[in-house]
């Protein structure tokens, strides 16, 4: 459950997101749709605190995002970045396993989980070590 309450963000005095309020229910599939430059990415990036909030409150699972360490918060939120979202110097498996490794999972569990994830999205068997 994500709640956005009266959130504002401005750059140089010009509001990009102006007192936005919305809530997304748990398990809901939500699309933010809007013209270019209307603040979609800014809103999303405020949720995982890549951009600081000027005013208002964002709660994820009932918890104010500003009360959680930013890194810990981000590790809980899946975030696929625009254009390049992969580390070019890592294998596919390393890329999939980024967050589990950050969370200090056991190696076997990381491998198991990333292979399962790869199978979910790919019908063909693929070589994760590339």
């Amino acid at each position: 459950m994500i709640e956005i309450d009266e959130v504002t963000k401005s750059y140089g005095g010009r509001p990009v997101v102006d007192r936005l309020s919305l809530s997304v229910g748990a398990g809901a599939f939500c699309v933010l749709l809007g013209s270019s430059g209307c603040g979609k990415s800014t809103t999303l990036r405020m949720i995982n605190r890549l951009i600081p909030i000027d005013s208002g409150v964002i709660r994820v699972g009932g918890e104010d995002v500003t009360q959680v360490p930013a890194e810990a918060l981000r590790r809980r939120i899946g975030y696929a970045i625009q254009s390049i979202g992969l580390f070019p110097h890592w294998t596919v498996e390393d890329n999939i396993a980024t967050v589990p490794r950050l969370l200090n999972w056991r190696q076997a569990r990381v491998r198991d989980q990333s292979h399962r994830a790869a199978r979910t999205v790919s019908s063909r068997s693929c070589d994760l070590s590339q």
Binding site: L73, R74, Y79, I81, L86, F87, H89, T98, V99, S129
Partner: protein, 553 residues
């Protein structure tokens, strides 16, 4: 094409969609016009600034803006699928781009099936069946039934072999060296003989100096080297098939070389419009990535040349140990300075290692800071010219003077070795000289890391320290190592001058030799310095290649 020329001569209507390059390049449309005897006016052409085959094909297929003909590249099944007819270049106005199977060695080894498919496929690939070759794959995926292809999908990378005359002058440097060497041996004598280093030597020709078999051996070696200058190294350019990025255009391949049963491609593989397509086409991007990985997995070509070089060096060293060269003047100089030489060499290496190490220790953090805050960059790199363009010894002298001043006014510093002469000022000077490349390469390397990748790391919850160590540093590493290489090689050369201020090293022999007019003594200092620089360069280059391969996997 002849039919088209006839059609045009009868006043037939045409509007050709083509790229600007096709219209303007002398080897393209003008070549067709000259060969077939027609001329297209401005309003018969629809010129697109890019070479987008998809756009021209579509324009022709849908008769957009009155277009009824199109220039298209590629082996694309779209030509058949859109109901278009490929015009045959029956008079051979065009150079032929025919595909040849090939793959980086390791890539082929990784997928022998693909290599086999590519081979069997290309044996039969020509202008008629090339579109179908790709279309068969499409039929599997999209239910296209227009094509009757007989080829399997070609996943292997293609290489276009350069066939522009395999015999010709390919290595001008080698040729020049060999000609000069031959003339020198024939006219000026092979060696010169002097009873001691003060007298100038008497030239001795090769015939007098060596026995018959040795002369024959040297002659044979020379002939082989000379021949090497004329033989093509057999370059291949890797191209990607698929989509508009085909670039091989067998659909236009009308002309074959007389008598050649294998299709031969002319060299013109780096055409910019094709490069654009290859970048844009996602399939090709995937292949390019595969290709890079294959190349990264493969043993670098450098290894082959380096093993040859290693064998030569080992051979020469073995001969030297066996005493073959003992009569040479440089060996004589060495013999009389055996202990000094070992000392000077180790001192030289120590000077270089110490100064480069210090420069890295100081310069790396500075570079990181510079990359972090652009404001700091301008004072750090305030006047690159003044540092970079100095003659070799000026910074040394400047540092020398500075150290002298400091050592003179602060006896404590002088007590620990910072004085006017000796190792400390030499190291200070070398460090100062090495600092700029280290700082700059660090800053440039780190700044060159894609912001989006760092952003991705942040988004996934990496701390800034983790981003630096796991993302930025490995990605910037090639540039950092390049800086280290430059600095090391530069320091090896520069440390020779350090002998002037009593720091020792190989320069000792150089300046001693200069003082005594003993060229061979100069060589005893200069040649090892050169070999040291080459060896360091090679080692760091190899290290860089290994690390890059490691990172690519």
């Amino acid at each position: 094409m002849s039919d088209l020329a006839g059609y045009l001569a009868r006043g037939g209507r045409i509007r050709l969609a083509a790229s600007a390059e096709f219209v303007e390049s002398p080897s393209a449309l003008p070549s067709f016009e000259a060969t077939y005897g027609f001329r297209l006016s401005g309003d018969q052409l629809l010129t697109l600034s890019g070479g987008n085959t998809a756009a021209t094909l579509r324009a022709a297929a849908e008769a957009m803006s009155g277009v009824n003909a199109a220039m298209a590249y590629g082996t694309d099944g779209a030509i058949a699928a859109l109901g278009l007819t490929a015009l045959e270049d029956d008079k051979g106005a065009q150079v032929v781009y025919a595909p040849a199977p090939g793959c980086p060695r390791s890539g082929a080894a990784a997928a022998p099936r693909d290599r086999k498919a590519a081979r069997s496929g290309f044996r039969h690939l020509d202008a008629r069946n090339a579109p179908a070759a790709q279309c068969r794959d499409r039929r599997r995926r999209r239910g296209c039934r227009r094509c009757r292809g007989g080829l399997s999908e070609i996943e292997a990378l293609l290489a276009v072999t350069s066939a522009r005359g395999r015999i010709g002058i390919h290595n001008r440097v080698l040729l020049t060296l060999m000609v000069a060497g031959t003339v020198a041996v024939a006219v000026a004598g092979f060696v010169s003989y002097a009873p001691n280093r003060l007298l100038s030597g008497q030239p001795i020709t090769l015939w007098e100096a060596a026995s018959g078999p040795a002369v024959a051996g040297i002659g044979l070696l020379g002939a082989m080297l000379l021949a090497a200058a004329f033989i093509s190294p057999g370059k291949t350019a890797v191209l990607c098939p698929g989509g508009a990025g085909g670039g091989l255009a067998p659909a236009r391949a009308g002309r074959r070389r007389a008598g050649g049963e294998r299709p031969v491609a002319r060299r013109e593989t780096r055409r910019p419009h094709l490069a654009r397509h290859r970048i844009l086409d996602p399939r090709c991007m995937r292949r390019a990535r595969h290709c890079r990985r294959a190349a990264a997995r493969s043993v670098p070509a450098r290894w082959h040349s380096s093993s040859t070089a290693g064998a030569i060096v080992a051979g020469v060293a073995a001969l030297a140990v066996a005493g073959i060269f003992d009569a040479l003047s440089i060996a004589r100089e060495y013999a009389s300075r055996r202990l000094l030489f070992a000392d000077a060499l180790s001192r030289h290496v120590a000077l270089v290692a110490g100064s480069v190490g210090l420069a890295v220790v100081i310069g790396f953090p500075l570079g990181v800071v510079a990359a972090r805050s652009p404001r700091l960059q301008s004072p750090l790199f305030a006047d690159p010219q003044s540092t970079a363009d100095h003659s070799v010894d000026r910074p040394l002298r400047a540092a020398d003077r500075a150290a002298l001043g400091v050592g003179g006014s602060l006896p404590q510093l002088a007590a620990i070795g910072v004085g006017g002469i000796g190792v400390a000022p030499a190291i200070i000077a070398l460090v100062l000289y090495a600092l700029l490349p280290v700082v700059r390469n660090t800053a440039v390397g780190l700044a060159g890391v894609d912001r989006a990748v760092i952003e991705a790391g942040r988004g996934m919850g990496l701390t800034s320290r983790q981003i630096f160590r796991q993302v930025e540093l490995p990605l910037a590493l090639p540039v950092l190592l390049a800086g280290l290489r430059i600095v090391t090689v530069q320091a090896i050369g520069l440390a020779v001058v350090a002998a002037l201020i009593g720091a020792g090293g190989l320069g000792t022999f150089v300046f001693e030799g200069l003082g005594q007019y003993a060229v061979d003594l100069v060589l005893l200092g200069a040649l090892p310095a050169i070999f040291l620089a080459l060896a360091a360069d090679f080692l760091l280059q190899t290290l860089s290649a290994v690390l890059r391969r490691h990172l690519a996997q």
